[in-house]
């Protein structure tokens, strides 16, 4: 299962959980699972987070694959000027 690291605001919304294991093959499955496990997290996941999978940041990419041993971080989405 992928290891998902939550920090800061997301950690608070997930009731203090900083590392959790999630069964997910891609980003969309991950977001669904996180939203279902932590309902308070759900609206924030849809409002501007990117997903870093093994160090590479994916933004708005539902079908980016997540490996069974992947380390996943939720990172605020970056826009820029």
């Amino acid at each position: 299962m992928a290891r998902v690291v939550l920090s800061g605001t997301l950690k608070q919304l997930a009731g203090g959980a900083s590392e959790i294991e999630v069964e997910a093959r891609d980003v969309r499955q991950l977001l669904r699972e996180l939203g279902s496990r932590y309902p308070e997290l759900a609206p924030h996941l849809e409002s501007g987070y990117a997903i870093a999978i093994d160090g590479e940041i994916f933004q708005d990419a539902w079908f980016a694959p997540i490996g069974p041993d992947s380390e996943v971080h939720l990172v605020p989405a970056i826009r820029g000027g």
């Binding site: 690291v5 800061g8 501007g48 870093a52 160090g55 590479e56 980016a64 826009r79 820029g80 000027g81």
Partner: protein, 759 residues
């Protein structure tokens, strides 16, 4: 994921990429042919003008437009009553998350005017004079409220409250009362208390920065025409005509396909043209009047009602061992958002310590509303403010440790595999390479005279990808029209044409790049985030490969061989001894299957961060406090510089904007919260005579996720300058300046105070 990534980047020999052809838009721009936002005129066009609040904070009790509507020549008058109210929710608009409740209130004040210059009503009339006269006839009854402009004051209990429905997100327990603090964010890694306990030296300081405007030379301008059947055209100066379409359609209840938006040439944006101000108003006035409506902001309006970036207060604490290894770093960032939430404090927190490989980090940020225009993005939004503070503390730490500041940075530099404080590990990045280039540069060892000082600072920006489309249309003569959907601000038409030519194997002057309107291509996210050469480049390369596939198929048909027996090499289809050039295949395309068009529609991922190190020499006049920039060298990782002149131009432009931010630029308000310097005479951005030639060094650490190794370069160059200059001024005077701008009165006051303390 896209499939255009190529392996063996370092082995690829480029023919076009890396050269310096003339830019395709150059002649039009130097001869005055280029059509900017205000350059379009159409028959029966009206002129639209906006009535703006004279108060920094006031409840709008009533608006009477009857006299204005009765004025001969006035064709339409609008207020917020003409715009639908929208719920407060962050919903996707392309790649952006947007709160349309705030947006509709920002384009036209509803219950309250929240800053001086906030739009309150607008008119469309047969001439500018009639429109101006009509504005005078609109009677607005205000109840003036106390205002707050400074982030620290806005956070105090009892501060004037901008929004009575704003409850801070990200704090526990959830607040029982509303406040001006929209959000608290936190990023942490390791244990900072344990890290500081291991430190031999700890430096801790507080810094302040002022709001500064993006300072684009071209004011906001647009022309809208809505027909009786609801179809609409909009011409405007913008960094993203697709997002303008999304925003306007939502605000005005239009279908996307009925609104065609064309991006004009753009006279600068720097993040400030990623939002809408006039565009929905012009569409609404046109819909109401039945005429095309043109609107152009004055410079005063630009200052009073658009941008700027945040003013901020930043506290930084860094500890290190005697040998220069940083053991812990902590920061608190408080950023002004303007009248509506959404400051760049989050990326500021993420950038703060990103150039460094640290085990123990904690960064907390607050997004705070104040009675100024809502902030807009400004190059590397949030990053320059954070690094102004962090890079000065790093400099002071080096002094306390008797280490060279570049050596201290090298000892702690982030590299491939470093875990960022905000979570993920970095891929290949160029922090070490820019520092080594700085150390090796003759500038770093050049002698200095009395009252002169040298400063160094580094900076980081993430860079982004995103939704992008491109099309390549082959003409029957073998020339290629390249259609991109990202407005060209920094020379991207040139770099995109070069990548198309590189891939197709033809001369770059055979490719004519244009920016298509919103009906010409699928959705394109805006020009911002240093994404265009990366993302549109990726799309162009993919479209070129689509063209090549079709060219090879046509050649195979002509030669009556299997398609897999044909390869594309050096601008020719080849099969054994047979060869056909691109132009030869294009000439007969009508007979071999029809026109050849290459398309790409991607969501580009894998943008690699860009790091920079700047060196600056200053001279401080002890009698006047004036800081003169003597020499400036900007060093940056570009991944692969497609057109080196435009990479250098981005680096130079960022440095110059940073010089203005460091030395001159600030908003001056009177006691009622009214801006007193809304013009370039009193809000002084640098001009050519203020700066030396900015020397540049391009470092190339290829980004493995781009076919040519490209990284974005547009934003990072504005991150280091303020800290580099502050470090240089400290080196020259012995005085650490923790507040911007370091303008002559402030510098002189500090010099005088230092002299007085020695007496």
């Amino acid at each position: 994921m896209n499939d255009v990534t190529m392996k063996g980047l370092s082995e690829r020999l480029f023919k076009v990429v890396g050269t310096r052809p003339l830019r395709p838009d150059g002649v039009d721009k130097v001869t005055g042919r280029a059509k900017f936002g205000a350059d379009i005129h159409v028959p029966n066009m009206l002129i639209g003008k906006v009535l703006r609040s004279p108060h920094a904070h006031a409840r709008i009790k009533s608006i009477d437009t009857s006299k204005a509507r009765a004025l001969p020549g006035v064709k339409a008058v609008i207020t917020s009553a003409d715009l639908a109210d929208l719920p407060s929710e962050f919903i996707p608009a392309g790649e952006m998350m947007v709160n349309y409740r705030d947006m509709t209130r920002n384009v036209m004040a509803r219950e309250k005017a929240l800053y001086e210059g906030h739009a309150v009503a607008a008119v469309a009339a047969v001439s500018e004079a009639v429109a101006a006269e009509a504005l005078k006839l609109i009677a607005v009854e205000y109840e003036v409220l106390p205002h707050v402009l400074d982030v620290a004051q806005a956070m105090e209990p009892g501060a004037p409250l901008l929004h009575d429905n704003m409850y801070t997100i990200g704090v526990e327990p959830k607040p029982a009362k509303p406040s001006n603090v929209a959000k608290r964010v936190e990023f942490a890694l390791g244990d900072v208390a344990a890290g500081f306990a291991k430190a031999d030296v700890v430096v801790e300081r507080e810094f302040t920065t002022k709001p500064v405007h993006q300072g684009y030379i071209e004011p906001h301008a647009c022309l809208a025409s809505v027909s009786e059947d609801g179809q609409a055209e909009l011409w405007c100066t913008t960094q993203g005509h697709f997002i303008v379409r999304s925003f306007c359609a939502k605000l005005l209840g239009m279908e996307l396909a009925k609104l065609r938006v064309t991006a004009s040439e753009i006279g600068g944006g720097f993040g400030g043209k990623t939002v809408v101000y006039l565009e929905p108003l012009a569409l609404l006035l046109s819909r109401k009047s039945g005429h095309p409506v043109k609107m152009v902001m004055s410079r005063t309006e630009v200052f009073r009602a658009t941008g700027p970036t945040s003013g901020a207060r930043v506290w930084v604490k860094i500890g290190a061992t005697r040998d220069g290894r940083i053991t812990a770093a902590e920061a608190l960032l408080k950023y002004e958002a303007g009248a509506f939430q959404g400051s760049p404090v989050q990326p500021g927190c993420m950038c703060a310590f990103a150039p460094y490989d640290l085990d123990n980090v904690k960064v907390v940020g607050f997004d705070v509303v104040v009675n100024r225009p809502k902030v807009a993005a400004y190059r590397a939004p949030g990053g320059p403010i954070a690094e102004f503070a962090v890079e000065q503390v790093i400099d002071e730490l080096a002094k306390r440790l008797h280490l060279d500041p570049v050596e201290l940075r090298l000892k702690n530099a982030a590299k491939e595999g470093t875990k960022a404080a905000y979570g993920p590990k970095f891929g290949p990045i160029g922090m070490v390479q820019t520092l080594e280039a700085a150390r090796a540069h003759p500038h770093y060892r050049a002698p200095l005279k009395a009252n002169q000082g040298r400063g160094v600072a580094s900076g980081f920006w993430f860079n982004i990808g995103g939704e992008t489309c491109a099309a390549l249309n082959l003409g029957e003569d073998g020339t290629v029209t390249l259609v991109a959907g990202t407005p060209d601000i920094g020379g991207s038409r040139a770099s995109l044409a070069m990548m198309a030519a590189e891939e197709l194997g033809i001369a770059v002057d055979k490719v004519r790049p244009i920016i298509g309107d919103t009906s010409a291509l699928g959705y394109n996210f805006l020009t911002g985030g240093s994404r265009v050469t990366f993302s549109s480049g990726m799309a162009v390369i993919e479209a070129a490969r689509d063209v090549i596939r079709q060219l090879c198929e046509r050649a195979a048909k002509i030669w009556e061989v299997a398609p897999d027996e044909v390869i594309w090499e050096d601008g020719h289809a080849r099969s054994g001894k047979l060869a056909l050039s691109l132009a030869e295949i294009a000439e007969t395309a009508g007979k071999t299957g029809g026109p050849i068009v290459g398309n790409a529609a991607i969501n580009a991922q894998g943008a690699g961060p860009s790091l920079a190190t700047h060196i600056v020499d200053v001279e401080v006049d002890p009698e006047t406090g004036k800081v003169t920039i003597l020499r400036y060298t900007a060093i940056q990782d570009a991944g692969k510089a497609v057109h080196p002149s435009y990479v250098e131009g981005q680096m130079q432009g960022g440095a110059v904007q940073g010089i203005g931010w460091a030395l001159n630029e600030e908003y001056i308000y009177d006691k009622d919260g009214r801006l007193e310097n809304p013009g370039f005479l009193d809000y002084r951005i640098p001009v050519c005579s203020d700066v030396p030639m900015i020397d540049t060094v391009i470092v190339e650490v290829p980004n493995p996720r781009h076919p040519y190794g490209v990284r974005g370069v547009g934003e990072t160059p504005i991150v280091p300058p303020m800290a580099a200059i502050a470090n240089a001024v400290e080196n020259a005077t012995g005085i650490r300046f923790t507040a911007l701008p370091m303008s002559p009165p402030r510098v002189l006051e500090a010099i005088d105070a230092a002299r007085a303390s020695k007496i």
